[in-house]
């Protein structure tokens, strides 16, 4: 089955899009419970499927060794996929393994829907999610190249190579995959056209009425209410909200001049690339 990566830098609307998709595919369950989505929640970096299919404790391998095995696993997962659409969340940048193979597959088996969010707003949301100061978060978003010191601990996910924010975006735009770019801000202010574009890219046949219903069922205020009532399994830690504000433009009011400038440089790189590639 065709794999669609739902790719984004963290805190860029990936979860929101999957909730929309669940509401679209399962209108009888709308609004879906974000804690029990009827579509797969399987992130590309999850250890669980790796250990179950390969049959051993993945923490015995270095991050590079385990990364080399992930493409094989992803092919198997796609072959055995039982759902309506094989759409998988991924926060990794599109990178290459030491043997030259891409970590996240080649066409035609793989395509990517990339969600791009303003880096100023990403910084505010990611700082809350990672439990870092905004200053440290901005530094992390601007840090170029792969993180080479990843084998110090094991969590429920394999170490992810995010690269810098601009490198992350460009890695996907310059990848050999067919990529559909949508903007988080457009998911708010031009929702129908944006979600329609994504739905069409995913080769799903739904009319505007269905898409509008799914958008309404996935409104941010509803998600905030559901999280307040029942919690959310992807919340980063006690007391921290996952569906925090979601308002475009918050970063402008909360980042210092220096932080704004650092991320503005990142944004310029991405905007130039988008213009030259013509993907937007």
């Amino acid at each position: 089955m065709q794999t669609y990566w739902l790719a984004s830098y963290p805190k860029s609307g990936n979860t929101w899009f999957r909730i929309f998709l669940a509401n679209l595919l399962y209108p009888d369950r709308a609004p879906v419970d974000p804690n029990q989505l009827p579509i797969s929640n399987l992130i590309a970096s999850a250890r669980g499927p790796f250990e179950e299919i390969m049959g051993f404790n993945s923490s015995l391998l270095t991050s590079e060794e385990s990364a080399c095995l992930r493409p094989t696993l992803d092919r198997l997962i796609a072959d055995d996929w039982q759902g309506k659409i094989c759409l998988r969340k991924v926060h990794d940048a599109y990178t290459f393994l030491p043997n030259g193979q891409p970590l996240l597959g080649r066409p035609p088996g793989y395509k990517a829907l990339y969600i791009l969010r303003d880096p100023w707003d990403v910084a505010v949301s990611a700082a809350n999610h990672w439990g870092l100061s905004i200053e440290d978060t901005v530094d992390r978003m601007c840090r170029r190249g792969p993180n080479k010191n990843q084998d110090t601990n094991a969590t429920e996910q394999f170490p992810q190579q995010l690269l810098s924010w601009s490198e992350h975006v460009l890695s996907w735009l310059h990848s050999p995959l067919e990529v559909c770019l949508i903007r988080y801000e457009d998911m708010h202010i031009n929702a129908l056209a944006t979600f329609r574009k994504a739905v069409k890219f995913l080769s799903l046949q739904y009319d505007d009425r269905c898409i509008e219903q799914a958008i309404r069922a996935s409104e941010f205020k509803n998600l905030q209410k559901l999280e307040a009532e029942g919690g959310f399994i992807e919340s980063p830690r006690q007391g921290a909200k996952f569906f925090r504000k979601g308002i475009p433009g918050e970063g402008l009011t909360l980042l210092s001049t220096d932080e704004l400038e650092k991320l503005q440089d990142q944004r310029k790189i991405v905007n130039q690339a988008i213009l030259s590639i013509g993907v937007d």
Binding site: S59, L60, L69, N153, A154, E156, R237, Q238
Partner: protein
Amino acid sequence: MNSCYYYCGFKLDTALEFPELRHLESDEIEFRTISIRTGKVSIPTSNEFYSGPNWAIGPNESYWWLDGVLRSRITLEGVTIDASRRVSAGLVRALILEAPMIMAMQYHDAFCLAVSAVTEGNSVRAFRFLPGGGSSTAAGWQIRYGDNYTLVSDTLLMVSLGAQDQPLAWPQGSGLLLWPKSRSLLKLEDFPMLEVRSELPLRRVMLPSADRALPLGKIETAAMYRRIRQSLQEDTNLLKARKPFRFAALRTAGRLWIDPMGRSEEHFRWCLAIAKNSKIEKASHDNLYSQEG
């Protein structure tokens, strides 16, 4: 010359050295024996086997491999190992004690839950979180900060069925694999530990271990450590009705290999016994970490 070691309720008879395991006398006959020997192993290309990315399973023999590291052939009698000389012995041993041993035990109709576990009084309390989610740390926590807990398992809990199908949990006997952060949290610097491979700071910490099989009392499950800190998440639906059976089936180590080995019926009965006789419940932070270290 061969030595004998204890592992998951079995006696390993081997010329390889396993410093992470307890020696057994060769005349101890209470345990079934699995031999581990070295030899050339060729991975079969025949489609008689049910194949995965790094394994091929048949009713009488199976193969498990990791390219460039290890190839193994597994039968009822034991495991033949063909390891690369460039790979550290610690890594080879750690891998042998996982998939090849799981397969060998399955040929003996012995199944393992993929859980960490400790003794609690006269029964066993197991923890199952997502891989990398802290179940080994949770087990270590009970041993370090609880009263009279000993280690039963880190990754594999072999469960046999006793009288009236009572599930009996056997000590794994290979310590607890922990990363520096957990070792620091659990204040384990003074405990004996073994390096697994020089490239990783992962260590096998030898904590006080149970020395006999005990009834499997309960299994506590959670998505991950940080999630069980959230008091809002009261997922009581998780474990109703047929879910304990499903839990045991899905958390069986090497569950993909059971059908092609022809062990489905034995495994069904095993899952049913666990579902009927052991409690499976949602882990709570207060129960797990009531004694702050």
